[in-house]
């Protein structure tokens, strides 16, 4: 019996240690970000977050442009990825012949295996010319005259910009969201689905009225995972976003995201205020991601209390 006790003890300790190591790492990274952005925080204070001027010559740095770029591209990515992933999952599980389910699933997972820099290169060489020639002109024609959002679609059309970056990001996060949605779909007890089908519901009704309410926690979790991935993506975005530190509301104009600013400028940030400002961008990114995670947990808790299990 002693061997079993030792094994038990070891496993307990190892698992505790793993958790502690992860938490320590998290705190360590947070500490590093705060420490190295001190100079920038002291120089700019809260102005940093709502100043849009990023001028390395005048040594004035403001993150608003980059923050907007990150949020807008991530939002576009979600708008594209969530319905698509949902459609893919529905198709694989409910519509497609059972025999090809596994093959379809593997092929979607292959998308996740493609390195992000390859997405960037593909986006630059193939996708952005395509978007610039076909998709963007159509959107400008269709949405350009609408009262409130029309001006977002104005301006020159190059194929590179916030919109293309958002689309590439959307394609990148589809496999993650699909994978989680697939697992959630399968977790719903068959008996619930079958009982509603026996009452005469269609496939779509069983999905809408049973599976989605049952799995909403998981779905939200999957969406949040995708959002986290999209916010932090660097290489794919910096290839197609145009890398311009200008503030513009036009979706088709070149812009910058927090990650692409850091990736492009970090190695040549020759003076301390510059690198400190870039580290502060990293800190803001870190905080935004943390807020996304906490917010998702909070929302899920609310919905759980409202509707029961």
């Amino acid at each position: 019996m002693k061997k079993v006790e030792i094994m038990n003890g070891m496993i307990k300790t190892l698992s505790r240690a793993s958790v502690l190591i992860v938490i320590a790492l998290f705190m360590g990274i947070f500490y590093f970000l705060i420490k190295n952005s001190q100079l920038s925080i002291h120089t700019f204070g809260l102005q940093f977050i709502h100043n849009q001027e990023w001028n390395p010559v005048l040594k004035i740095f403001g993150a608003l442009g980059a923050i907007k770029g990150t949020l807008i591209t991530s939002l576009i990515a979600l708008l594209i990825a969530v319905p698509t992933s949902f459609g893919i999952t529905m198709f694989i599980l409910k519509v497609a012949p059972h025999s090809i389910q596994k093959a379809l699933r593997i092929s979607i997972d292959l998308l996740a295996g493609i390195p992000s820099i390859i997405y960037g290169m593909w986006g630059l060489y193939v996708f952005s010319p395509f978007v610039g020639q076909y998709i963007q002109p159509w959107m400008m024609h269709f949405f350009g005259d609408l009262p409130w959002i029309g001006h977002c679609f104005a301006g020159e059309n190059y194929g590179m910009g916030l919109f293309t970056a958002g689309m590439v990001l959307g394609i990148m996060i589809i496999p993650f969201i699909t994978s989680i949605m697939h697992d959630i779909f399968e977790l719903v007890p068959n008996i619930l689905v079958e009982s509603v089908l026996s009452l005469g519901a269609t496939t779509w009704e069983s999905i809408w009225h049973v599976i989605i309410p049952y799995g909403r926690i998981g779905f939200a979790g999957g969406v949040m995972l995708g959002l986290g991935r999209a916010i932090g993506e660097t290489m794919a975005v910096s290839f197609v976003i145009g890398n311009a530190h200008t503030m513009t509301t036009a979706l088709f104009a070149p812009a910058n995201s927090m990650t692409s600013s850091i990736a492009n400028e970090f190695t040549e940030a020759t003076y301390e205020l510059y690198s400190s400002a870039l580290v502060e961008l990293g800190l803001i990114l870190f905080v935004i991601t943390a807020i996304v995670v906490f917010l998702s947990n909070f929302l899920l808790k609310l919905t759980k209390n409202q509707h029961g299990p």
């Binding site: 001027e53 990023w54 001028n55 390395p56 010559v57 005048l58 630059l124 952005s128 010319p129 020159e156 190059y158 194929g159 590179m160 910096s238 290839f239 145009g242 890398n243 311009a244 530190h245 200008t246 070149p254 910058n256 692409s260 492009n264 400028e265 190695t267 040549e268 940030a269 020759t270 510059y274």
Partner: protein
């Protein structure tokens, strides 16, 4: 058995430690092709390895000031104050052209003329279309397309950006005030490409685009239109080895921060970039051999490396500047007071 294997391994490692001297340097990517070629040839002849990594001028400056490298290369010269505070010596080695290219459909491989005023206005966004009368007036024999001008600049910090913005600041007080000089600036308009490849790619993909590149990235197959700039003497010049050499002849150590940007000289190319080397003013004993080796390398390079330089499209520093460079090498202090740089380049 194990003991025998270990002994063999130890012997193999100690054989390797008879290896040649290793001198490490890093910095600008502009001169990297030349340094690679030189170090490759030098190793074959003298078994001394010079390891150069192109990490960017800023990286090179940072690392040499921390003394993690033996030497650094930069396209952006350090001021006398910076040299004093980092305790470095700076000297030029190569000159090359920063080139303006444009994507003008129908005018592939034709050169167009732009003068200072127009160039500055294009990059400040005041002239927005290629069909503008002012541009057409300078190019009477060419029918310019009615395309909006799209500016392509660098997304990452770069010595090439430094050279171009320095030029713009010199020819335009408005540019100097509004934007200024730097390896990274706040461009009022335009796309940022990642490194020279990115700029070349963006210019190639966008009809009506104009961008600045290091000469080596202007490949014939891209069919770019080269831009002729008007130099200080008023001549419209193409970037060629002879126009860069004409600019290089104007180099003056006293005016090192200006480099040879917008120099006088009828045949001079105004956007000539100078690539400098940075080495410490004082050498500790442990590095004695390394700097003797580095000195011999540069002696060899200035004597025998001319062909490689020419072949790769650059221009070497003129002879009279080389003399001043050797003088600077002699000022290096070693820890042992009697030691000096050995040998004489002649």
């Amino acid at each position: 058995m194990l003991y025998k294997i270990l002994t063999c391994i130890v012997i193999l490692f100690s054989l390797n430690s008879h290896a040649s001297l290793l001198i490490t340097g890093a910095g600008a990517s502009f001169p990297a092709p030349v340094y690679s070629k030189w170090s490759e040839k030098y190793y074959l002849q003298h078994h001394i390895k010079i390891n150069y990594q192109a990490i960017g001028s800023g990286g090179g400056i940072k690392q040499i000031s921390l003394r993690t490298l033996d030497f650094a290369a930069t396209d952006k010269p350090l001021s006398a104050k910076e040299l004093e505070s980092f305790k470095l010596i700076q000297f030029p080695v190569l000159f090359g052209a920063v080139v303006l290219v444009a994507n003008l459909p129908g005018l592939t491989s034709q050169a167009i003329n732009l003068n200072n005023q127009i160039l500055k206005n294009i990059f400040l966004g005041k002239i927005q279309n290629w069909s503008d009368k002012k541009i057409q007036a300078l190019n009477p024999s060419i029918k310019l397309p009615t395309l909006p001008i799209t500016i392509v600049h660098r997304a990452d910090g770069s010595g090439t950006t430094y050279v171009f913005t320095k030029y713009l600041s010199q020819i335009s007080p408005e540019w100097a005030n509004r934007v200024g000089v730097g390896m990274s600036v706040k461009w009022p308009f335009g796309f940022g490409g990642k490194s020279n490849d990115g700029v070349a790619l963006y210019v190639k993909s966008i009809p009506g685009a104009i961008g600045y590149l290091e000469q080596n990235y202007v490949e014939k197959k891209n069919n770019f239109s080269l831009v002729r700039l008007q130099n200080k003497a008023g001549e419209f010049i193409l970037p060629t080895k002879s126009s860069v050499a004409a600019a290089a002849r104007q180099f003056n150590f006293k005016n090192i921060s200006a480099g040879v940007i917008n120099p006088p000289g009828r045949q001079a190319w105004p956007l000539t970039a100078t690539s400098y080397i940075l080495i410490p003013q004082a050498i500790p004993d442990t590095k004695h051999e390394i700097y003797q080796g580095l000195y011999q390398f540069f002696v060899w390079a200035f004597k025998y490396g001319q062909d490689d330089v020419s072949h790769l499209g650059f221009v070497m520093v003129p002879q009279k500047i080389q003399d001043e460079i050797w003088l600077r090498w002699k000022t290096i202090q070693f820890q042992q007071p009697k030691t000096r740089i050995l040998g004489n380049p002649r």
